[in-house]
């Protein structure tokens, strides 16, 4: 009986939390894009514009490869945008939503979940639009859309775990958000966006495979044009990163909540 009561409590809590997250999504959209209807367009336009620009730059500069440099870089950049968008905004999340935290039903992770759902959905939409555009122009369909979707989901989860940690760090240490910004830019060349593991010399190959995002880019490209190169990735390794960052991140957010409450 006691256990049943406990379960009912958790289910009621989960429903409540979903509603809170839904409300936070709407609020987040309003604060970010204003109340204009057209403001939402920016949500899709920003990653699309950046992805297409990066793709065009590389299409113009690179020598031809086994697959088009445009589709390689543009689609890859969308995946990086998931990482960048989630992690860069994380450091400001607590400060921007501080007043909301006075409501008892809003917890810190809710704020993050809401933002991450927005980022993930917008990037997935952009990815679909881009792939559809490529299909219309070249007639190239990705070989395994499921692998690409899995790469997007895992990238969002990994970024979410890092975002928890980054936010907790930013709340604890003054100026940490600048460090996080710098780190996301420094990680760009190493993230796997610009290369395939098989292009690297052997000594670098091993080092690159320590970076979890490299595995996710390999997975994305395996789904995009898997039969044209030898993909190397270990998803168990990335799941390990996701789980550890989530555990540490969620725990750190609990501590942060307690600290903020004291102020």
């Amino acid at each position: 009986m006691n256990a049943q009561g406990e379960l009912a409590l958790v289910v009621r809590g989960a429903r409540m939390q979903l509603r809170v997250i839904g409300a936070l999504i709407i609020r987040e959209m309003h604060t970010r894009f204003g109340r204009h209807y057209m403001g939402y367009i920016w949500l899709y336009f920003e990653p699309l514009l950046l992805g297409v620009c990066i793709g065009l730059i590389h299409a113009w500069r690179d020598r031809p490869m086994t697959f088009g440099p445009f589709e390689f870089h543009a689609v890859g950049y969308i995946l990086f945008f998931v990482f960048r968008g989630i992690l860069n905004r994380a450091t400001m999340a607590i400060n921007m939503n501080r007043p909301l935290l006075y409501h008892r039903s809003v917890t810190l992770p809710d704020v993050f979940f809401a933002r991450h759902v927005i980022e993930f959905l917008s990037c997935t939409g952009v990815m679909l639009a881009l792939l559809f555009g490529l299909f219309a122009v070249n007639g190239n369909l990705p070989e395994s859309p499921i692998k690409m979707a899995l790469a997007m989901i895992m990238m969002a989860l990994f970024s979410q775990g890092l975002a928890f940690l980054a936010a907790a760090l930013a709340a604890a240490v003054e100026g940490a958000e600048r460090l996080v910004h710098a780190l996301t830019y420094l990680l760009l060349p190493a993230s796997g966006l610009f290369f395939l593991v098989e292009w690297l010399p052997e000594w670098l190959e091993e080092m690159a495979l320590w970076i979890p995002t490299v595995h996710l880019f390999e997975l994305l490209r395996d789904g995009q044009f898997g039969s044209r190169f030898h993909a190397q990735y270990d998803l168990a390794y990335v799941w390990g990163w996701i789980m550890i960052t989530h555990l540490l991140g969620l725990a750190a957010l609990r501590i942060t909540r307690a600290r903020i409450g004291l102020e």
């Binding site: 006691n2 406990e6 989960a14 039903s105 992770p109 292009w199 789980m243 555990l247 969620l250």
Partner: protein, 394 residues
């Protein structure tokens, strides 16, 4: 039954038991025990009591061509290229090595080995435990299982391919390793044969054509000689020219003699008549020769020598060309043969498949530890999430 980190029960304090019981009394009812420790214990039980030992047989080999004698040299080349290219030298493994690896993980190789060894019964030995054994016999699912038990890894730095096979009996592992090595060898030989034949085929074709041409030109010459009853037309012409020269000389001498004798003889002298007769005979002879050799007569028999000479020269030219073509075809066939020899591929075994003694798999401690750590982390995340949900309801 969720609890705070401090260990107090979360349920409301309506519990009528005021006596605090020691922490271990209800430990087995805790979610942490049920979700983390119990599964780990079950896993330990499985690994230590039930799991059948799996024996690993390992073999290593190099696919090399005569040109790049051996893996060691290939490794040196790979490193040199990597350092020379700075950042872009990767992927030095030859395409043949890659194709051997792709073959060894393919359905084709599985069916090949299955035909020789019966893989299904090999992985369904009675000593195999239920969790690790093979459950299917369909080719595709067999291939999936095969790829779990057989790993083929290629070290791009040294070009050495490592083949590791797991099965439930040491001799099975060794036998499968031998079979796979043999079929990899067969594949390499097939590839090598194919590329050699392709290189030689064109050269051989060229050679055959040249040979045919030489034979044809000789035969044509022979036919000509038989037909014209003439061994050497050029010689015949030479003889005819000499003969005419002699006749002309004789004619000139005879004419000179006649002129000379006219000076002191009467025109009706008998001796003069003889000279005149000789001149006439010589002139007729010369005319006949000329007709025979150069002019066409109504009967079609004329200009025999001229015609013969033209045909003969054509045939000789043809023979000369045919000989030259034959010589160059022979040379290019020789080059192609050398090239083909250089292209020859070998699969050289570095490490022969061993007969395992100690079962390396399943890796008990590593598996149990990773199960425990994974579950503990998942439990931690779940606990944090559920506590978060509860906060909303409170």
């Amino acid at each position: 039954m969720l609890s705070e980190p401090s260990g107090r029960p979360l349920s409301l304090p309506e519990d009528p038991e005021p006596v605090p019981r020691p922490w271990y009394a209800r430990f087995w009812q805790r979610p942490f025990f049920l979700l983390v420790i119990l599964p780990s214990l079950i896993a330990s039980f499985y690994f230590y009591a039930i799991a059948a030992p799996q024996y690993v047989s390992e073999a290593r080999f190099v696919v090399s061509s005569r040109g790049s004698d051996g893996g060691a040299q290939a490794a040196m080349r790979g490193m040199a290229a990597a350092s020379a290219f700075g950042g872009l030298g990767g992927g030095m493994a030859s395409s043949e090595t890659n194709s051997v690896r792709d073959f060894l993980t393919s359905l084709d190789a599985v069916m090949d080995a299955h035909g020789k060894l019966d893989l299904v019964s090999l992985w369904q030995r009675p000593e195999a435990d239920l969790l690790a054994q093979l459950w299917y016999s369909e080719p595709e699912l067999l291939t999936q299982f095969y790829n779990k038990m057989v790993t083929v890894s290629l070290d791009p730095a040294t070009n050495v391919t490592t083949l590791r096979i797991r099965s439930f009996r040491p001799e099975d592992s060794k036998a499968l390793a031998e079979t796979l090595l043999a079929s990899a060898e067969a594949l390499v030989n097939r590839l090598s044969e194919r590329s050699r034949n392709e290189t030689l085929r064109v050269a051989r074709q060229e050679m055959e054509l040249a040979e045919q041409r030489v034979q044809e030109s000789r035969a044509a010459l022979m036919r000509f000689r038989e037909q014209e009853r003439e061994l050497d037309s050029a010689g015949a012409v030479q003889a005819a020219v000499t003969l005419r020269g002699q006749l002309e000389t004789a004619l000139a001498q005879a004419r000179a003699e006649l002129t000379e004798r006219l000076k002191f003889m009467r025109p009706d002298n008998l001796a003069l008549q003889a000279t005149r007769n000789r001149i006439e005979a010589l002139e007729r002879q010369i005319a006949a020769e000329r007709t025979r050799h150069t002019e066409t007569s109504a009967g079609g028999e004329g200009a025999v020598l001229a015609r013969q000479l033209a045909a003969y020269e054509r045939l000789m030219l043809e023979r000369e060309f045919a000989d030259k073509q034959f010589a160059s075809a022979t040379a290019s066939l020789e080059t192609a043969r050398l090239e083909a020899q250089r292209q020859q591929l070998f699969l050289s075994r570095i490490v022969e498949p061993n007969l395992p003694v100690y079962p390396l798999y399943p890796r008990k401690l590593v598996s149990i530890a990773s199960i425990f750590v994974g579950l503990a982390i998942a439990y931690g995340i779940g606990w944090l999430l559920i506590v978060g949900m509860r906060e909303h309801a409170a």
